[in-house]
């Protein structure tokens, strides 16, 4: 069969579709977005009517998936690493309810923070939840793992994490397809209390989860994704997790790696295999994309006499993603670089597009805030976060999705005036609504800008959940009608907009201003 040229994300999507997927749930987030986007435009998915619309946030997605699993069908949840924080309540508890139909929680981590506010490693969450995790090293494994994961999930009645990192998620390679499996028939859980976590039942479920750990370990020991290759030279043994395996092998394309290598693609960590390599080799080098979780496990408190090298002893950088050159250095091989970046090259950070509606909103806001000085604008995550950079210098904070409104409330309660929040339409739908409700209840003196550009722009123009509903939501939450104001952010309307913003700052209570103008890319993308 001809190979398909797929991104790692797309390989996961195709692999899941070919393994009886009935529904994919998720919220966009780089580098995970392309999983659901692929399913949304896939012909077979459309014909089969696989559920594939975006959810309001990662928690609602995780819960929707659990519901589908309850009904016996196979389901996939997708998110970026920080999305798992939002989904964490549902996710952690799903380890106790377990799954009926197979559940894959596909989480894409972003080491080096290419498009993220931190570089947390989702494998900690798998360990935390006592859930098995799979970590593909290449696109073919990203395609093959979903079927394996669904089986594992249904055999153990447990969701399975599939962890990706940026470079695999966003890199294309040829993938060979397998036969397509049928979807599950709907069937309810055999045990009627499986999804009931009243304490008495939760305790039982927890015991079951604990007693399953030995079996999960066995699965890892025998997993096709954990491979031990013995080397001639026993001075060093290398444990390479996921993508890091490629960076290792890249340094031996014209030769054979002389060292023993344990390639890890499934967790919990296979204890016997790890013991074998540590016993056979003098030193161990741990290569992992993300945080030094395996390295720390090996080191423990009582490090014994074994030498464990990795991110914690400086053999590799403590933070950031790996690459072939860093691994090369850790192997003690010489650097290949001959040229430096010429001094003349300047940095080119991302910026708001020319004609962006957010730019005009910030211009008006800056004008109004001039007399108050800096430090009044709590912002959020999206394109509009770029308003922190010159020439706008319009916002002061960006923490996590939804934090703009709530931080403004806290600051207003502390006496800061004016306290302004700027939040994108999709971010408002994701986790701003509950914050606005708090504001109304506390009668906080805040002005909330809901920047309605008709799309989820930052992640590539997905549909926003709240399009067409923003005013209704604000009114429903209890914001007064006179203080829900819509403006058109255009520079020729600047004076008018400045006036409205001033009026709302002068109002003592919750005001919402909705600058409404589509992102300049909305039409071109929708046309495609």
């Amino acid at each position: 069969m001809k190979k398909l040229l797929l991104l790692g994300d797309e390989a996961v999507a195709q692999g899941a579709l070919d393994s009886g997927l009935s529904g994919a749930f998720g919220y966009p987030g780089t580098p995970s977005t392309e999983i659901i986007e692929y399913i949304q435009r896939n012909k077979a998915a459309i014909e089969r009517d696989v559920c594939r619309t975006w959810s309001a946030n990662e928690k609602t997605a995780m819960e929707e998936a659990l519901g589908m699993s309850y009904a016996g069908k196979r389901t996939l949840v997708t998110m970026k690493h920080v999305g798992l924080n939002v989904a964490a309540d549902a996710y952690m508890n799903s380890a106790l309810t377990g799954a009926n139909g197979g559940v894959i929680v596909a989480v894409a981590d972003d080491p080096s923070m290419h498009s993220s506010q931190n570089e947390q490693d989702s494998r900690f969450y798998a360990k935390f939840a006592l859930m098995p995790a799979l970590e593909p090293s290449n696109q073919q494994e990203a395609y093959d793992m979903p079927e394996y994961a669904f089986q594992l999930s249904e055999n153990f009645n447990l969701p399975v994490m599939l962890r990706l990192t940026t470079r695999l998620a966003h890199s294309r390679a040829g993938v060979t397809r397998k036969e397509v499996l049928d979807e599950n028939e709907m069937h309810l859980p055999e045990n009627p209390s499986q999804f009931m976590l009243l304490p008495a039942f939760a305790r039982k479920n927890y015991q079951k989860l604990l007693s399953n750990q030995e079996g999960l370990l066995q699965e890892s020991e025998n997993s096709p994704f954990n491979q031990y290759t013995e080397g001639e030279d026993k001075s060093l043994g290398i444990i390479a997790c996921g993508l890091a395996y490629n960076y290792l092998m890249e340094n031996y394309v014209d030769s054979v790696c002389p060292y023993s290598v344990l390639k890890i693609g499934q967790y919990p960590l296979p204890r016997k295999l790890v013991k074998k390599i540590t016993a056979e080799c003098d030193k161990i080098l741990v290569l992992e994309e993300g945080m030094p979780i395996v390295e720390e496990m090996l080191k423990g408190f009582l490090n014994g006499n074994s030498v464990i090298k990795g991110r914690l002893d400086g053999s590799l950088p403590r933070a950031g993603e790996l690459n072939p050159a860093l691994v090369r250095k850790a192997l003690g091989m010489e650097d290949l670089v001959s040229e430096k970046i010429p001094e003349i090259v300047a940095g080119r950070p991302p910026a708001l597009c020319l004609g962006c509606p957010h730019a005009d909103t910030y211009k008006a806001l800056n004008e109004v805030l001039e007399p108050y000085g800096k430090g009044h604008v709590f912002s959020d995550i999206g394109c509009y976060t770029l308003g922190f950079l010159p020439p706008y210098n319009a916002i002061d904070t960006c923490v996590c999705m939804g934090a703009s409104i709530t931080m403004a409330i806290g600051a207003a309660e502390a006496g800061l005036f004016p306290a302004i929040a700027t939040i994108g339409d999709s971010t408002f739908g994701h986790s701003g609504i509950t914050g606005l409700l708090d504001g109304v209840k506390k009668q906080a003196n805040i002005v909330v800008f809901i920047l309605d550009n008709d799309t989820v722009a930052m992640t590539g123009m997905q549909d926003s959940q709240v399009t067409g509903r923003i005013e209704d939501i604000c009114l429903g939450v209890g914001v007064e009608k006179e203080h829900v104001r819509v403006i058109n952010p255009l520079s020729r309307l600047n004076d008018e907009n400045v006036k409205i913003i001033k009026e709302e700052i002068d109002y003592n209570g919750v005001s919402v201003i909705i600058p409404r103008r589509p992102c300049i890319h909305v039409y071109s993308k929708r046309k495609r």
Binding site: K3, L5, L7, T30, P31, T33, E34, H114, S115, R167, L168, H170, S171, R172, A173, G174, L243, Y245, N246, Y247, M249, E250, N251, V253, N323, P324, A325, R328, D335, L336, V337, S338, E339, K340, I341, P342, I344, V345, A346, G347, R348, P349, P350, A351, L352, C353, C383, L386, P390, M458, T459, G460
Partner: protein, 192 residues
């Protein structure tokens, strides 16, 4: 056969189309391919790059090792230089000379072109002028691809098929003009 190529430019300049066409030609020619792309934040007018790897043997890393690239193909001159540490000792630099100046501290253009000209293995061309002469500067990327084509060790026919495949649904006219743009770039390199 092994070609490791860094594609460089600014978000929106069409480097992913170049990647897709070379990728198509490589796969049709029976080679292995890996292509790392940049999505997300940095697409907003920031620097973007793609690592394109073609080989007759299995490819491991999605990223090209530093010092290992055979080619840098860039649609923007300053971006071309940003990736020099990736270029091997015998690698070539192929770049458009039209600057994209969306930052306040963009360097002096003449000085920038000096640095490029001083690089021993370079092809620097005015892709914007060539594209304009052909009717649309949106095809700048195809002119640059044409200039890079002799260095790719891929059949020119396959690249043409790539253009037809990638732009096919936009109609014959778009395909035709992109083919012309690639050809014009090719001629620059051939004349060199």
């Amino acid at each position: 056969m092994k070609k490791d190529i860094i594609l460089a430019g600014v978000g929106g300049q069409g480097i992913l189309s170049i990647a897709a066409i070379i990728g198509y030609a490589a796969v049709e020619s029976g080679y292995y391919l890996k292509q790392a792309e940049v999505h997300g934040m940095s697409q907003r007018g920031g620097d973007v790059q793609s690592h394109l790897r073609i080989s007759d043997k299995e490819i491991f890393s999605d990223l090209i090792p530093q010092g290992g690239a055979d080619l840098i193909i860039s649609v923007e001159p300053m971006e071309a230089l940003r990736y020099l540490p990736f270029l091997s000792e015998v690698g070539w630099l192929i770049t458009n000379i039209n600057t994209f100046e969306n930052i306040p501290d963009y360097p002096d253009k003449a000085a920038l072109l000096e640095v490029i000209k001083a690089f021993p293995r370079n092809v620097a061309l005015d892709a914007e002028q060539i594209a304009k002469d052909l009717g649309s500067n949106r095809m700048m990327n195809m002119v640059v691809l044409g200039a890079a084509s002799p260095f790719l060790e891929l059949n020119y026919d396959e690249l043409e098929k790539g253009i037809k495949f990638i732009f096919g649904r936009k109609g014959d006219k778009v395909v035709e003009s992109n083919l012309l743009a690639m050809k014009a770039g090719r001629e620059i390199s051939d004349k060199r």
